[in-house]
Amino acid sequence: MAEIQFIHVSKVYGGDTPAVRDLNLEVNEGEFVVLVGPSGCGKTTALRMVAGLEEITEGEIRIGDRVVNDLPPRERDIAMVFQNYALYPHKSVYENLAFGLRMRKVPKAEQKRRVEEIARVLGLGEMLNRRPAQLSGGQRQRVAMGRAIVREPKAFLMDEPLSNLDAKLRVQMRAEIARIQQALKVTTVYVTHDQVEAMTMGDRVAVMRDGKLQQVDTTQRLYDAPANLFVASFVGSPPMNLFEAGVRRDNGRLLCRVGDSQFELPADLAAARPALGEYAGRRIAVGIRPEDVREASGWDGARLRGRILLVESLGSEQLVHIEIAAAPLERSDLVDIAAQPPGPSLGVGELEQAVTLLGRFDRHLLLSPGEAVEVAIDPRLLHFFDLETGVAVPSAVDAPVAAGVAG
């Protein structure tokens, strides 16, 4: 076991296409770190650089206390699970599992003992003589995992190992991998584009975009204190509601204006985020999680008036799309576009500027599309971001490691 360090690592393809830009990341011994981001964000490239399958253009990668930049993959003592499993089709399950041991000249008897033990743990005991073609998707996935585990490497590298499984199996294997990792306590770097996978599996999650690391933190901190607009919009499902608002100072109080409604930002909030005062007289990006949007009756807080566009029942709760008067974010390049809800419905928007606000409401509320509704928002639960850079307005208590999205 060993820690993995990225020190100012960059990767440039073909002279001018940067895939990874100045990546600094430390994966501690025994830690499970997930690299997550939309496709093309450089997460897989970063992982392949650790494996030695991709050359490092600049910077340094360390595994344990060794700089591995110039070591071939076989000398790095890591194991990798590929997205398509990459099982050797002409070898039986046993030979697949034993291949790495054989290459490392482990004695035959020891090979047999270890392969059989892993096969038993993973429930592959009956299938050791089969070829990969004779296995189901889930079984192939297990063989691929087993091939990594049996080597007892310093670190596991996993490149979207679950993305070829169907939804149910994926949830099951997700838990299985997390459990195996906790039992073995092997340093693991896991790449995925699925933020749910990232949130549920990792000790820490590193969000990447366009080759740049956006934020690394525990799942909870990532969710509660996103460092910038991109992380805010990428993490969480359904995604955070984001829109523009105006900030104004009036008799020492800070007022926030959303569309045509205005509410006060309480003094404790202003004290916790002193930089907020600097935005007085300017526009700012405001975010609120869907679960923090509440139907107004019985709740305090700022009121926003809107109209229901759609009600999606999820069984335990309902997801309500509400059209409110507010300015949508102009800089769509600062957010994860894929996570944004569709714009206001066609034809019905008599409002000049409208955004769709997602709310997770109690399932007992009777709501139907077209109805007018009033929502309550606690200003203390709002997230504030700079409109130009996308960076979160820092909190005085614990400033998150901020990284600008643009540039």
Binding site: L87, M103, L135
Partner: protein, 304 residues
């Protein structure tokens, strides 16, 4: 305009029966055509074998004898006792085995480079490999002969290469076997996902080790196809061997076969017996290796 969106009317009951009969007739016609093509292909082979077993007067008889009524092995005896038969057989075997072995090794390595590495001039090289296969062989014989005959004077290589040397013929054969072999193997190699070698490398092999342990077994069918092609080409080749090899002891079987046709006429019986014997190795080789072509080994490597 409206006709575009029209839906075809559902066929009514009587319409259903007619296509089945028409289909049966069409199928029978295709089968008949298949049988005719088969007969056309097989007849010369049959005639060769049948003639090989006929005594001399039956061969030249004006009433064709479809089945040898007085089968005899004397033609085979005559053929194998012709001068230089065993020399020719030995030469052919040497040429074929070296051509097959060399073409497999060289073509695999070249195909590996083309399929798995990016290098300057890769694309022109691929085009070149396709292009050289379009040059007619007959047009090349004289220039090649001149080139080869000059090699006879070059010290160091003239033991192996040159006119009237088996090495010269082997080199010639490689020039037209290799482009095809490289092209075929490249296709097979491209079909193997790159994660397999990467996985092997992470598992502890060198890059070359990954090629040998993972890629080589997986392109087995491609190697078989290539080796069959090389075998047939080198075994059946006549013109180059005829032009390049002068001394009877150095000739290959195909050139030896031609020696049955002389100014005084053709000795058909022994010629056909010799031809039958010459086609045996190809058939045996094909039967030995053909079973490996049939199935694709890469099934199940990655998500199916």
């Amino acid at each position: 305009m409206s006709s575009v969106t029209q839906i075809a009317p559902t066929p009514v009951a009587p319409v259903v029966t007619r296509p089945t009969r028409r289909r049966r007739v069409r199928k029978a016609a295709w089968n008949l055509l298949g049988v005719i093509v088969f007969l056309v292909m097989v007849f010369p082979v049959y005639w060769m074998i049948a003639t090989a077993f006929k005594p001399g007067h039956d061969i030249l008889s004006y009433t064709p004898q479809w089945i040898p009524t007085h089968p005899t092995l004397s033609n085979f005896h005559d053929a194998t006792h012709m001068p230089f038969f065993w020399d020719a057989a030995k030469n052919s075997l040497i040429v074929v085995s070296i051509v097959v072995a060399l073409s497999l090794v060289l073509a695999f390595l070249a195909a590996l480079a083309l399929a798995k590495f990016r290098f300057y001039g890769r694309r022109p090289f691929i085009v070149l490999i396709l292009g050289v296969q379009m040059v007619p062989l007959a047009a090349l014989i004289i220039p090649l002969y001149i080139m080869m005959s000059r090699l006879n004077d070059v010290k160091g290589v003239n033991h192996v290469l040159g006119v009237d040397k088996l090495g010269g013929v082997i080199a010639m054969y490689l020039t037209f076997v290799l482009p095809f072999a490289v092209w075929t193997l490249r296709g097979f190699l491209l079909g193997v996902p790159k994660e397999l070698e990467e996985s092997a490398m992470v598992d502890g092999t060198t890059r070359f080790g990954a090629f040998v342990r993972i890629l080589l077994p997986l392109v087995g069918p491609g190697l078989v196809a290539t080796s069959i092609f090389a075998f047939i080409q080198a075994w059946n080749e006549f013109i180059i061997a005829y032009v390049f090899l002068h001394t009877p002891q150095k000739q290959t079987l195909m050139v030896w076969l031609a020696s049955f046709t002389t100014l005084r006429g053709t000795d058909w019986g022994p010629l056909m017996a010799g031809a039958t014997l010459c086609s045996l190795p190809v058939i045996v080789f094909f039967l030995l290796v053909q079973r490996r072509i049939a199935f694709g080994l890469t099934a199940g490597a990655v998500k199916g």
